[in-house]
């Protein structure tokens, strides 16, 4: 075999990729040939130099973190676009807005729901005199004990005839998923229903609203929730609220 062929094989030999027969032939030849053995020695020197770590390009320290965060974005359903991350604050704001407005909506719709129940109950109570009053009496000392055993609380019952609001009786009702006390007052033939039950939270200032033409006032005082409703004008209804709060 010519040296030319041997020298073409020293690369595969050096790489451990030359088959056994050819390797043995080469190993026999090398010590006998100065040119081939020098070529092989040169190759080994070069390859040793190429193995040096200092020839490698080392990545910047932040590349791993950069790749990791890109992978996280990808893994959590994000796109590969770099612009995506700028949507995060916008997205957060939108979520907050939705949660907040949802909170407001449920809050108002909660009260709204009760207000509608109040109206229904008030209207029903006016349809027939029988529905209006369970215990017809202008005497608080008759009305108040009547609730005993029918409710798990004792509603404040007072007569305001002297102030123009005559107590005419009491009724058991069912509002906001619980039994409540309804007190009926009368002013110039206008019936006023005052619904009372224990409050879930602290005192709140009176809030007036109009529901289906009725004036409705809602407030919380001394652990009791009050809903007053009537076709009476708002100013006079607020007057009754003032008396009840005293």
């Amino acid at each position: 075999m010519k040296c030319e062929e041997f020298q073409s094989q020293i690369h595969a030999y050096s790489d451990g990729e030359l088959d056994l027969t050819k390797s043995l032939e080469l190993e026999q030849h090398l010590p006998e040939c100065a040119v081939c053995s020098r070529a092989y020695a040169d190759l080994k020197t070069l390859r040793k130099a190429l193995r040096s770590d200092s020839l490698r390009f080392e990545p910047n320290a932040n590349l791993e973190a950069r790749v990791k965060s890109a992978l996280r974005r990808e893994a959590h359903g994000g796109g590969t676009s770099l612009g995506w991350r700028w949507l995060i604050p916008l997205f957060s704001a939108a979520v907050l807005l939705i949660i907040f407005s949802g909170f407001l909506l449920t809050r108002s719709s909660g009260d709204d729901l009760v207000a509608r129940e109040i109206v229904s109950s008030h209207v029903r109570s006016l349809m027939t005199p029988d529905h209006l009053i369970d215990v017809p009496s202008e005497d608080p000392h008759t009305v108040k004990p009547w609730f005993d055993g029918k409710l798990d609380f004792s509603p404040p019952v007072r007569d305001f005839t002297a102030q123009g609001f005559a107590l005419i009786g009491g009724r058991l009702d069912y509002i906001a998923n619980r039994p409540v006390a309804a007190l009926i007052y009368e002013r110039r033939k206008h019936q006023i229903n005052v619904f009372i039950w224990p409050a879930a939270s602290g005192d709140t200032r009176a809030a007036a609203q109009v529901q289906q033409g009725y004036n409705v006032i809602h407030w919380t005082k001394s652990g009791m929730t009050y809903w007053a409703i009537s076709d009476l004008n708002l100013a006079e209804l607020q007057q009754l609220q003032g008396e009840l709060d005293k």
């Binding site: 790489d15 020197t45 070069l46 390859r47 020839l55 390009f57 990545p59 950069r66 990791k68 992978l71």
Partner: protein, 184 residues
């Protein structure tokens, strides 16, 4: 509830096993990309893009050498970028003849090749090689892949891997000899 739990835990597990298997090859991926592209920023972009692609296709990877698998993706991504940039690297003519490299011109004692080789000169010489020679050299000498692995990775027959590698080394030796002679 069940669906939410699945969709949250599955990507997490996938990410964890992907990172455990593939992230250790970051240095190899960068070194290879950097030698192919000859530009630090491009290399970093390509490595990031390659990891995202690898993650996407991770389910298609069933064992085997995970480093070769990743380097294949790095190679494809790098070549895509070079094509996009209409890199001159790709139009360098490649002489793939299997002729034996002529070693006679450097096989005299004055070439100093058996002495310590200056690493700066060597690195410069590698970077001056055409991309086809450069990449087989990097994969063999630095990443220590076998001819077969290189052939699969670069889609080349084994004979071509062998001859390109031989020619790459011969060119390096000639370049080094030339540079050393210039300095002397």
């Amino acid at each position: 509830m069940v669906f939410t739990k699945r969709s949250q835990s599955e990507p997490k597990n996938k990410l964890a096993s992907f990172e455990a298997a593939i992230l250790p090859h970051l240095n190899s991926a960068y070194n290879y990309a950097r030698f192919l592209l000859q530009n630090e920023n491009d290399a970093e972009d390509v490595v990031q893009e390659s990891y995202l692609r690898a993650f996407k296709y991770f389910q298609g990877y069933h064992g085997g050498d995970s480093r070769s698998w990743l380097l294949t993706i790095v190679r494809n991504t790098s070549y895509n970028l070079l094509q996009q940039n209409r890199s001159r690297q790709l139009v360098d003519s490649i002489d793939d003849s299997t002729e034996v490299p002529d070693t006679s011109e450097y096989s005299n004692p004055e070439t100093v090749l058996r002495q310590r080789i200056d690493e700066d000169l060597l690195k410069q010489a590698i970077e001056e090689l055409p991309i086809t020679f450069r990449e087989v050299l990097i994969l063999r000498e630095m990443e220590e892949l076998s001819y077969k692995e290189i052939g699969t990775l670069c889609d080349l027959p084994l004979g071509t891997v062998m001859s390109r590698l031989a020619r790459a080394r011969a060119r390096l030796q000639v370049k080094l000899a030339g540079k050393i002679n210039q300095e002397i």
